[in-house]
């Protein structure tokens, strides 16, 4: 019962700000609404027993990506908060495509018989994830570190004033 209540509250916290993100006419408001949405997803992660992923989610998404997005919006023309036309002419096709895809997903998800397995998560999330990263998933770990380095340098070069 408690789990269901928590799930409903967290889902609402995720989805209602997400609606504001995609529909609001004020870009700063939209970017602000990303933060409760990210925090709601964090709550869902905690509910699923993924504490480490939840901590990283707050740190990277809410603490870094959201701040970066707000920063860029305030440095460009959106920062005035004035109402400019924010949506293009594709509103109707957009609703149709996104709605159809979502409906398809929901039908698919509900009708599939998932091969559920009972069992408990490892007692220490952090240790298990660290071990997995450095044994089974070492290639993914190395490649993502390389991508991180390249994108760091790339972002610096692109955003530089004089080329």
């Amino acid at each position: 019962m408690g789990e269901l209540a928590a799930f409903i509250i967290l889902s609402a916290l995720t989805l209602i700000p997400a609606v504001v993100v995609v529909t609001s006419g004020n870009v700063v408001r939209a970017a602000m609404s990303l933060i409760p949405s990210f925090l709601g997803v964090t709550g869902l992660f905690v509910l699923l027993g993924a504490e480490f992923v939840a901590g990283i989610q707050i740190l990277i998404y809410a603490g870094a990506i959201a701040v970066l997005i707000l920063f860029v919006i305030m440095l460009t023309e959106g920062g005035t908060g004035l109402a400019i036309r924010q949506l293009n002419e594709q509103r109707l096709p957009g609703i149709v495509v996104a709605g159809a895809l979502t409906a398809g997903f929901v039908v698919l998800v509900v009708r599939t018989a998932w091969p559920l397995a009972a069992g408990a998560l490892p007692a220490s999330n952090v240790t298990a994830i660290g071990t997995a990263f450095l044994t089974d998933f070492i290639l993914a770990f190395e490649i993502s570190s390389l991508v991180l380095l390249v994108s760091l340098v790339g972002a610096l070069v692109i955003a530089r004033k004089e080329l």
Binding site: V28, G55, I58, G63, V67, F71, M74, N125, V126
Partner: protein, 331 residues
Amino acid sequence: MEILKAIVETVLLFTFLAVVTAMLGVYLERKISGWIQSRLGPKHVGPQGLLQTVADTVKLLQKEHITPLNADAPTFNVAPILVAVAGLLAWMIIPFGPAFGRIIMVRDINIGLLFFLAMASLIVIGILLGGWASNNKYALLGGFRSAAQMISYEIPLALALMVPIMMAGTLSTRGIVEAQAGSIWNWYIFGGPFEWYLAIPGVIAFVVFLTAATAETNRIPFDLPEAESELVAGYFSEYTGMRFALFQLGEYAEAFGMSALAAVLFLGGWHGPWLPGILWFFIKMFALVFFLMWARWTYPRLRLDQLLNLSWKGLVPLGFLLVLVTGWMLV
């Protein structure tokens, strides 16, 4: 029943924290600054001016809330609450010490330090939004500076945290303190219960942590976001009354929280000879708070480019080197 107990405990702890960090913090700041500058500081309200902050709080509570005409009102009102709540929530993982037959702390979660960093990073959002919503160029500039500064200094902060984490092998603050039990030489600043040469990364990590924590909490010499000679008062220029006080509460809670965390990670938390453990914790924490205030009244403010260079060209490479060297020494 369980949830009721948790709520009562949380409310009690947070009230205590708000009183200790904000009220005592402001009082100490004024007294110590007075002492350093050969003044007396607050003197008239209560014995030795002890009730001065209470009087100030009553004054702030009575003041009118002014929302500037062109401000973005909902954002303007939410930002100080976000800062205060995130600053106080970071205290959830601080273990105070043994009392009444148990360790006093709100929750011992297995991602403790990650949680602390996450809460510290949420404060940036409140400051940035507060600066933007005021619709004032000085406030906006203060918000920008603060975001650039805090994001730059989160990285050396996290890298300095890695040293005690690697020594203890856990992210739980309670586990880290318990791993430093025994003599004073088992504190992680002195290398923990390992070889003596681990004291070298220990001491350097402590210095890096304190520097980054000072910058992260926007205190002098890193107080560019609220530099009064350039920016009026930075991101809270337009805030009045209790909302202004909430920003201050958030900042003091974070500054005290960083000191408490440094005491827990590097100075052995509640461990110490003769005195009861909880007293040792507060002695260490207040010693570090005194250090922060001492630095505040000793050094002039840095320029923005010096500040960012110090982080990206000094502390970040040093932090990576520390992690590498500590790992090599531990193996």
